[in-house]
Subunit: 461 residues, 2 copies
């Protein structure tokens, strides 16, 4: 029986080859004259494969970009962790090094091959998807219950730590505007944007630093986290307002945008949020989010992002807001974060760093005057944020050591700052030079956090 | 004390507003004359927001596309489940309805707004990322151990169920070529491609149908699954070969490509796979895949996809192959599939259906002759695959009922067929008309599976 089957098998394969050979020979003489009416002639270019040109097709370039970005961000993330910096800093630096600042300068040919101008659209769009998912996760990580409990001191510290750098930023803008602002941007827009850019605290990076230092459950850690969370909400509201004003041209013209933004927030909190509660109860019980429910959640995220973009603030606020109104059940949020975080953070978010890096052109800061401006921006940013937060903490009755620690922590700009700077760049409020300087400010202030904390701990031990 | 703080707070805010007002008034007269040397003038267009034009920017359109695709695929997935069809069929149909076949015909204005030609590049690239992740998951779901155990009957059935439709397809191509093939495509390429397009079984859809019918652990279910798995591997190898031949122009010219493909497979199996085993042991123990390891896995997937694209077969094979060589520890694969599946399948894969739908233009089949060709393609596809598989099962000694059931199951083309058809379209081997006909063939054969199984069960009860 077994032998019979094998024979049958061999015979059928032989028959198959015979049929194939016969048909293919018979077909050799045929000519494809495609039916009239529809124009469709194969150019041959799409069909023919040669290795040299295969390298330049959009898909392989895109895959190579993803792979290179993945390697660079992981290697630098690892190295930075080794030297006591958060991994995300390494990823940001990797992005900058892949850009014109290093790779473009050293290997211009390879750089032009790997990041051709035609590929930037895809890269940007995919990095925006990554950012939308990321802002959604940040929104979920913001625990409103904690905010409610810790109100008092944290709100004072938080607002002070925004007001002082904001005012410093506006004052700084007064001196920068005539020489460094792009023509066509009003002083209003430039000054308000500089102010907000100096006032950002990166809640997620801060949270990670606090966790890594093991101070998450101390009073210091709680105050800093809460202040950063309040600051996050305040800064995003202020930024939304500034974008509305900048886009509308004046405060009064932006009222329409602001009104719609308020309506949107109200709908999200009082209509969508109650509807979502039911999902959370089921998911938390089953330790599982069904695929159809995940789709509903993605839909809310996308819908909110879309609404905010159309209203005239930014899609990222919508995603952040959608994260904030997710049901509070922590198990539910954790399930959701687990689902989204890995693919979004490992594969898509590094695209944003690289996209930022491609815009950051350290070579533009090519004379002592510009380096001077860069240093001044960094100095004002540190003085405003570190000084303002520490002063506020001291006024709120904290010990000197804790006040300085809070100042050092709040000074962390991290990746949220990069999000803000990219918005400013896209809106043409920041020139490439100012953008590059601000990116360097974001890097320096984030780098400072851990060493500064170490110094403060050593001095006040 | 509390009152004092509040007063301090109010005073500082008042001071802040005063500073702001002063600086902004002072700055009003300033003119931004951007430094010489660098050309950077804000056009105002990027800054000014008006709602009418906001709708047409790439980012909101992209978000809207994602949201619409999400809604349509979920709604149709749900409806199809209700009528006893796999959800994925609903998603595919949703994609076609969003394309020119329905929405483009009924709402041409909205269709042009939602899917402008400029957005197709982004959509394609993102859907390719989704497909690469999907093929990677399919590769992981293919359990080589099962293949080894079940060799005998399943291999015979599987190869027969490819050989017969393949030969039928080649014969069919002989009659279609002169009238319906695009000019410039050789008969070789067209015939081989038609052959393979008729021979596909959709392993993932089949697996889901078998699971839903509760026959996963029966002899019938096991044979069908194994035969489909063998068929998957065989068909992909054949397709890779055909792409290599089509691109190189002839069998002999493709030897270089084939040689490199063999080298690539060997490297993946004998170099990468052993290296990966260590990852799996750790992950399975900790019930967790570290982010850095996930990055390594993504890198292998991207690297393999890139290599296959450059070699001259298709990026998707590389992703599939990377899935196949993942460590066999099922816990590890399950962890990995869990991580990737939801975001990839809920958010990205529907993009591929819609992208396919946008290419499927049922309106092109606009006369009785074309509908006749379409029916012939469907008839040959069903006769070849259903007939061939059932015959093979009968020859292998199965009961008539089980043989027919195996035939019905193997006839499921599903989504894998769409992947193959899109490759043919991209390579300009298929015209839009033949592409549309083949898509309809894929839909009809997949729709048939469940009703056919029901009929067979009723007749032979």
């Amino acid at each position: 029986m077994r032998g019979g089957k094998t024979l049958l098998y061999i015979l059928s394969i032989a028959g198959f080859i015979a049929v194939l050979y016969f048909v293919l020979s018979a077909g050799k003489g045929l000519q494809a004259a495609h039916m009239a009416g529809v124009q469709y002639v194969s150019s041959g270019a799409a069909l023919k494969h040669d290795v040299a040109s295969a390298f330049r097709h959009p898909l392989p370039i895109f895959i190579l970009q993803l792979a290179m970005i993945l390697v660079a961000s992981q290697v630098f993330g690892y190295l930075f962790k080794k030297i006591g910096q958060p991994a995300v800093m390494g990823e940001i630096v990797a992005g900058i090094l892949l850009g014109p600042s290093l790779m473009g300068a050293l290997l211009p040919g390879f750089s032009a091959f790997l990041f051709p101008a035609t590929s930037m659209g895809n890269l940007q769009m995919l990095s925006q998807v990554g950012l939308i998912l990321f802002m959604f996760v940040i929104g979920m990580e913001l625990d409103i219950e904690v905010l409610k409990k810790q109100a008092g001191a944290a709100i004072l510290i938080s607002h002070f730590s925004i007001v002082i750098p904001f005012a410093s930023g506006v004052a700084l803008a007064y001196f920068l505007y005539e020489k460094y602002a792009p023509a066509g941007v009003t002083f209003y827009a430039f000054a308000l944007f500089t102010g907000i850019a100096l006032s950002i605290t990166a809640f997620p990076v801060l949270a990670r630093i606090i966790k890594e230092r093991g101070i998450a459950n101390t009073k210091l850690g709680t105050i800093a986290l809460t202040a950063a969370a309040v600051g996050d909400v305040t800064a995003w509201c202020a930024l939304a307002l500034i974008i509305a004003i900048a886009r509308a041209g004046s405060l009064s013209a932006s009222l329409y945008t602001i009104m719609w933004a308020v309506v949107h927030v109200a709908v999200m909190f009082f209509v969508i949020r109650p509807l979502l509660q039911k999902l959370a109860v089921n998911a938390s019980r089953d330790k599982l989010i069904k695929r159809s429910r995940l789709a509903i959640i993605f839909l809310i995220m996308l819908g909110s992002a879309y609404a905010c973009e159309i209203i005239g603030i930014h899609a990222l606020f919508g995603a952040f807001l959608a994260g904030v109104i997710m049901p509070h059940d922590w198990n539910f949020r954790k399930l959701l974060i687990d689902k989204i975080e890995d693919v979004a953070l490992v594969l898509l978010l590094p695209l944003f760093f690289v996209f930022t890096g491609l815009r950051t052109h350290i070579g533009l800061i090519n004379n002592p005057a510009l380096w001077g401006v860069c240093l001044i921006i960094i100095a004002v940013a540190v003085a405003g944020k570190f000084g303002g937060s520490a002063l506020a903490a001291k006024l709120a009755g904290e010990r000197t050591k804790d006040s300085l620690s809070i100042g050092a922590l709040m000074n962390t700009r991290g990746l949220v700052e990069l999000v803000v700077l990219n918005i400013g760049y896209d809106m043409h409020i920041l020139t490439p030079e100012i953008f590059t300087m601000m990116v360097m400010m974001a890097l320096v202030t984030t780098f400072m956090t851990n060493p500064l904390m170490n110094i403060i701990e050593r001095v006040y031990k």
